[in-house]
């Protein structure tokens, strides 16, 4: 039997759930020869494999959560975080999302809702993802995530917890949220078999990663930028899951070195960078998405995106919960839209941005609801703004030709401004 025939006969679903699959892939990853320019990719890949191997082996309790929960919270409690939203992006990247979206739709999950959640629920219904021991959602930013995670907890018949996050960002709110997290930790400790000393280690790893991320962001301000937006918005998964782990710190150290090497060798992410864009929200993850076309073929590089902006202070192991609470409340996407708009304008100046693109992901109330304020702030500052409607997961929900026309027309506007001596901010 040849290899192709053998592979086609494999029971993929069974192998996906088998921790040995990830062990074998991890061993095979040693054959992946990387240099200083791409060692970070291997670090992220291997970290992901290790997480999946441990989760499917049920080495530690698996905690399903959403992307706005700081991963340090789960790591400090001794759990293994699993983010169905990230899994949905991976599935979409493999071109497999429609089947899971369809499954969620059959289970009364409306097509009007976010496809990250629909696809995540489809994965749960197919029982492909590592089964959770408990589900933890944060109520801030995305209410859809809370509802979807509640449905997942019900499906798996596991406990469901919600962190209620106050709207303001003052000292009183930080104290309130920190107390809530400490109480939750006390409640979960017996279930998660955690050790209090973990907190110090998690804080140390998180701070190390943060330190490299600050340096990475400094390099991204250079012209030409050494990191593409397409890659940056792929590795947001590391930010959402690996902060607080040695693997996360290793990834950011290697990434920093890769970008530094690119700068020193004058090998930018995109060879000919005509325009520098600021990308708001996530990107489409399915094959044939428009961002790679925009960067590689049109030379419009996403110099920065708001996800990687470091807006939090290093974690103090002695005030661990307060640090995490301050970080959650300090997220510029939480609270009044004006706060997010102010951050956008700061990023425009810092990264010398020519134009801002907000990716209006279908069904995303929390990001799309801020568009009028963002548009108005950009218009007031004389920064071209494009609201690009599409879908991060479901390719069928966005016409590629329509998206390219909008993006190309936006670049033509930027071109016109440059030729008209509008100058750069």
């Amino acid at each position: 039997m040849n290899l192709r025939a053998y592979v086609s006969k494999l029971d993929w679903q069974k192998h996906l759930r088998d921790p040995r699959t990830y062990g074998v892939l991890e061993i095979l990853s040693y054959l992946w020869r990387t240099g200083p320019l791409d060692a970070h990719r291997k670090a992220a890949f291997r970290w992901g494999l290790q997480l999946l191997r441990r989760a499917y082996r049920r080495e530690r309790p698996v905690v399903w959560t959403n992307v706005y929960t700081p991963p340090e919270l789960i790591w400090a409690l001794g759990g293994l975080p699993f983010l169905p939203e990230v899994a949905a992006a991976v599935v979409a990247n493999m071109g497999r999302a429609p089947a899971f979206l369809q499954a969620a739709q059959s289970a009364w999950y409306s097509t009007d809702l976010c496809s990250f959640h629909r696809c995540g629920l489809g994965l749960a219904l197919a029982d492909l993802a590592p089964r959770p021991d408990l589900v933890l959602a944060t109520g801030h930013l995305c209410d859809g995530a809370v509802k979807f995670l509640e449905a997942a907890a019900e499906f798996y018949s596991v406990p469901f917890y919600v962190l209620h996050v106050p709207y303001g960002g003052g000292a009183r709110e930080v104290r309130w949220l920190a107390d809530e997290m400490a109480a939750l930790a006390a409640e979960l400790r017996p279930l998660l078999r955690t050790d209090q000393r973990l907190q110090a280690r998690v804080a140390r790893n998180s701070n190390l990663a943060r330190q490299y991320l600050v340096e990475i962001n400094r390099l991204r301000a250079l012209e030409p930028t050494p990191w593409s937006g397409q890659e940056a918005l792929t590795y947001v998964a590391v930010l959402f899951m690996a902060l607080g782990t040695p693997g996360g710190a290793l990834f950011y150290r290697r990434l920093y070195r890769a970008l530094l090497t690119r700068v020193r060798l004058n090998r930018p992410a995109i060879p000919r960078q005509r325009f520098r864009l600021l990308w708001l929200h996530f990107r489409p993850y399915y094959p044939g998405e428009p961002l790679s076309w925009l960067e590689r073929e049109r030379g419009a590089v996403v110099a920065f995106e708001e996800v990687h902006n470091v807006t939090w202070d290093p974690l103090d192991p002695h005030a661990f919960w307060s640090g995490l609470a301050a970080r959650m409340l300090g997220n510029p996407l939480w609270g009044p839209a004006r706060r997010r708009a102010e951050q956008v304008l700061r990023l425009v100046r810092r990264y010398r941005i020519d134009g801002v693109v907000h990716f209006a992901h279908w069904g995303c109330r929390q990001s799309n609801g801020a568009v009028p304020v963002l548009q108005s702030a950009c218009a007031g500052a004389g920064v071209p703004f494009l609201n690009l409607e599409g879908d991060c997961i479901d390719a069928r929900n966005a016409g590629p030709g329509q998206m390219r026309t909008r993006l190309q027309a936006f670049l033509e506007v930027l071109e016109g401004r440059k030729s008209g001596d509008h100058g750069r901010r």
């Binding site: 409607e389 030709g401 329509q402 026309t405 027309a409 033509e412 506007v413 016109g416």
Partner: protein, 257 residues
């Protein structure tokens, strides 16, 4: 210098030939299922009308949603930029352009040199476009040319969804079943289109003068309703369907082959 602009739209393909910036010939034909074939045919016809040989053409710019299907073009430019350039050349006082084509509608703001400053396009649904009117004309057993006259005859209108073409069609069928006069239904359809255009205009802001391009600009009832809502005249250039191709040909004048 001879330049050509070819606009491959969802419903029609247009070509305009310029000789030293002067309009010499044009063509307009149905796009059909073969984008490349219709682009080639439009080019050949426009050249024949202009009395120009193909080898004499210096630069060809393709635009429209099918612009990537014109292998003979030296450059592809979006219809947004082309409509801005073309409309500004025909009506230089224009600062806001409403273009309603077969499958999409857009509002474009231009500066005093015809450069696009801002734009918005309709979302995925064809509601508010030429296709919307076509579907409704079929449902009402009338033709596109006669719709404007019927709408102008109506004393009142029925409310119709401006969100989705298919939903709107089912509403039309319901009104027909209720025995509502065809004129009132058609006027309601026109108002639904203008509702969408008005919302899009609000997003980019209205700066006078306002002009309308695209095939739907030939419908006087739409233009009049839009003028009434805006409280200002909406100008329509000659041959509004050809404005994109004309703009492409103008851009070709400044491009190199």
């Amino acid at each position: 210098m001879i330049t050509v602009g070819v606009d491959i739209g969802s419903v029609t393909t247009k070509a305009v030939v310029l000789v030293d910036g002067e309009w010499r010939g044009a063509s307009l034909l149905a796009t059909g299922a073969d984008n490349r074939g219709s682009a080639e045919a439009a080019l050949v016809r426009a050249l024949a009308e202009a009395g120009v040989k193909r080898e004499e053409v210096a630069v060809i710019v393709a635009t429209g949603y099918g612009r990537i299907n014109a292998p003979f073009a030296h450059r592809q430019v979006t219809e947004i930029t082309c409509h801005g350039k073309g409309c500004h050349a025909l009506l230089p006082q224009t600062r806001t352009i409403v273009d309603v084509g077969g499958q999409d509608s857009k509002v474009i703001r231009v500066d005093d040199r015809g450069r696009v400053v801002d734009f918005v396009m309709n979302d995925k649904c064809a509601a508010g476009t030429g296709r919307f009117l076509e579907v409704m004309a079929r449902a009402l057993e009338t033709d596109l040319a006669g719709m404007a006259a019927l709408a102008r005859r109506a004393g009142t209108s029925v409310p119709i969804s401006s969100t989705c073409t298919v939903f709107a069609e089912s509403e039309v069928v319901s009104y027909v079943a209720q025995g509502r006069p065809k004129e009132e239904i058609i006027r309601g359809l026109h108002e639904a289109i203008v509702d969408r255009l008005e919302a899009m205009l609000g997003r980019v802001g209205v700066e006078p003068a306002v002009a309308m391009t695209g095939g739907v600009a030939l419908n006087r009832a739409i233009v009049e309703e839009l003028s009434r809502r805006l409280g200002m005249e909406v100008h329509v250039p000659p041959h509004p369907q050809l404005v994109g191709a004309f703009g492409a040909a103008l851009i070709a004048c400044t491009a190199t082959a």
